[in-house]
Subunit: 435 residues, 2 copies
């Protein structure tokens, strides 16, 4: 959903949903719950077979998917270029979607993995075993690829998925979802394990946020701040999400200048629109004289606008004035705010006050300063001498991610297949009773 779509619709969804829609959606929830029970005990070979069959169906039905996408794009004529780009499919993007499903099939199966096991003095053997979460609701913008990415990850983790994509991509998403259903059924699994909400009625989102009569276990929103903000504010079920990534790179007095320049430019400019992009540069006041100018020059050389307070503007050329609001702004653009701080403690203080607990990095050769930063910055991901753009499930070795969470409960950081599971305790005895 775009911001405008959400704004148009905000009132509508908080009011009563039409009774027929509620009935339909709750029936969808019950089908998902029943499918989840089957998925939960499906052997890995069957789930992976389904994922590969989905990939194959997408390849086979490529023309159909592209045609649906053309129709979506036609309707979407008036939209911004970036929005249009996200909505657009082509040969290589469709192949990318299929390849993504094959990659998920190749990941290790998380279900049934023994996370810990121990013996008790009375002879009981206790194990903590990974189990699926149940039913995952995914609410996303008009990015057709998310239909397959999210559906595939949920199935791999033994869950059922209820997907609600943006209205502007409805035909593309439906064409892809048809391939997912086909893949599931080909492998003998219930097609209802991945269901796409078939209506454009925005009240459907509101119903999902209530949990559909207890059938949805967790909601994952994928999209911009307005979508995530609404989901976090209204959801009556747990949400895995991050609202924004106000990420910092702190260049310490003991930083290697060349490394700092390389990391800062990469953290900000590699891709400015991703949630792991840096938004604020913090420089240790002790090395302002030597480090600030080269950092600013490199950023400007890479095409980045640098905003700083009066102190910074005196120390380097071409710095735009920053206001208080800049410290809490996620630009997602070629703009960075910059500030001098008093050493690592000053950096920690600034990040604690303005950060969004997403991803923060320190550049230093001082091991003690690094430890202090890594321990005290309470963010999902903290890095030492590395770019914030590594905030990504793939880069973490998780294979694929459905998003990044900054909440503290259950999933924090990249949300991969393991984060889409829960656990239970399996206890084996030989007749033990409790005294």
């Amino acid at each position: 959903m775009t911001t405008a779509e959400l704004a148009r619709n905000r009132n509508e969804t908080t009011t009563e949903a039409p009774e027929a829609l509620r009935r339909d959606m709750e029936a969808m929830g019950r089908r998902a719950r029943a499918a989840a029970a089957v998925l939960a005990i499906a052997p890995p070979v069957q789930k992976n077979g389904a994922l590969r069959a989905m990939a194959s169906a997408i390849r086979v039905r490529k023309a159909e998917i592209l045609k649906a996408n053309e129709a979506d794009l036609e309707d979407a004529g008036m939209l911004a270029a970036s929005f249009r780009d996200r909505l657009t499919l082509n040969n290589s993007r469709v192949e990318g979607i299929a390849a993504g499903l094959d990659e998920v099939a190749a990941l290790p199966d998380p279900v049934g993995a023994v996370m810990a096991g121990w013996d008790r003095p009375n002879g009981l053997h206790i194990e903590r075993v990974r189990t699926p979460l149940g039913v995952v609701g995914v609410i996303y913008e008009s990015r057709p690829n998310v239909t397959a990415d999210a559906g595939g990850l949920c199935v791999k983790a033994g869950n059922a998925a209820i997907l609600r994509g943006g209205t502007d991509s409805r035909r593309s998403s439906a064409a892809i979802a048809a391939c997912l259903t086909e893949g599931l059924e080909e492998a003998g699994l219930p097609g209802a394990a991945i269901q796409l909400v078939p209506t454009s009625d925005r009240a459907a989102v509101g119903l999902m946020l209530t949990g559909l009569g207890g059938t949805i276990d967790v909601i994952v929103p994928r999209g911009g701040k307005s979508l995530v903000g609404r989901v976090q504010a209204e959801a009556r079920v747990p949400v895995f999400a991050h609202l924004e990534g106000i990420n910092h790179v702190y260049v310490d007095r003991a930083a290697d200048l060349d490394m700092a320049v390389r990391i800062v430019v990469n953290a900000k400019m590699r891709r400015t629109g991703v949630c792991g992009a840096a938004e604020t540069l913090l420089v240790d006041r002790a090395v302002a004289a030597t480090h600030l100018r080269p950092l600013v020059a490199a950023l400007k050389g890479a095409g980045c606008e640098v905003r700083g307070d009066f102190e910074l503007q005196r120390l380097a050329e071409g710095i735009e004035p920053a206001t208080e609001a800049d410290w809490s702004t996620e630009y997602l653009d070629a703009i960075i705010s910059a500030k001098l701080v008093d050493g690592v403690d000053g950096a920690i203080e600034h990040i604690t006050r303005y950060g969004s607990q997403h991803t923060d990095s320190i550049v230093t050769d001082d091991a003690a300063a690094a430890e202090r930063f890594l321990n005290r910055v309470d963010s999902a991901i903290v890095l030492h001498n590395a770019s914030t753009q590594f905030a990504d499930g793939g880069e973490f070795g998780m294979g694929a991610e459905i998003g990044i969470a900054t909440g503290k409960l259950h999933a924090r950081g990249p949300i991969g297949v393991e984060q889409l599971t829960t656990f239970k305790y399996r206890v084996r005895g030989n007749g033990q009773i409790r005294p």
Copy 2:
């Protein structure tokens, strides 16, 4: 809180809280948040010093605590015997509270533990490290010991706690809380790390359930079904809880009869008021002729009422009639419902339909039947050849627990110190940038 207290008050708390109370509670939340930041980085020796100082303060101020408890008991004259018993303190119970804090001090410190670590091909070293959750809100009935148990566990895990105990125990809880504050301050930690809500105004509970302006990270309710049900229904922050423990023991065709009798009687009768007590006995129809009578006789011999349907009543003597409602009833009393099922799949079906995903046990010598039950019953704790009464953090070797959760997110099963933590990713590099 008692059911009556909750009922009296239900409307009150869903309406607007008085402005002054809201202000006071939100200030309490901010103090907790500030204290949590200090606790999060406090070394184990300091936290354990605080816990031991709390224990010592409780021993020193025993007379004061008992006097406060006498005043509470005087006011509580009209209450039920079981309620009165839970409220009552005496020398040995106060010593038990102090000893509990010493035991928590002796537990391994969860904070900073590396849960997993791995290297990436680009040389990044990634670790998943345990960190505190932040601020834990605990809402409990008139059991003064919970003040110390919950406060101590939260501090051990590096969290701050906001405690709201039952009104009838307010003086006892306040006397104990004063000792906790003393212990914290003696160890150089902020006293606000454990705060007892000082007012009997029930609107305070409603405010805690909203999260106190984002300062409470999780709520743990400790008490009966009405308290937990209200918290689950109204909370706008995550809740670790179980509503009820409708636990089953399934006696399979391949069960050793002596073992089955021992386990069933223990699971039901060791203590009938705990959440791990069995409430329903399921017997494999294949061994009804041989196993049912001895099981029923043993239960009745131990003083337990057995309720069953017409089929059961024909097979054994002295069985009271069961209605449909019995299968979903948590008696917490010397009553058990009993039913014949068709093998392990019949048991799984019954448990899936009527259980509460708390704790379920199978008695069998058939390894395949046991595996099927352990894999397919989706409860927090599943046991093979052991009593359901082992559903307890202490029995699991966790040292102490603040409760048992049946939700699927974050904490499931016993909630010990580890379950009161979260984690972050610590990434160490030597200049890595993302291509």
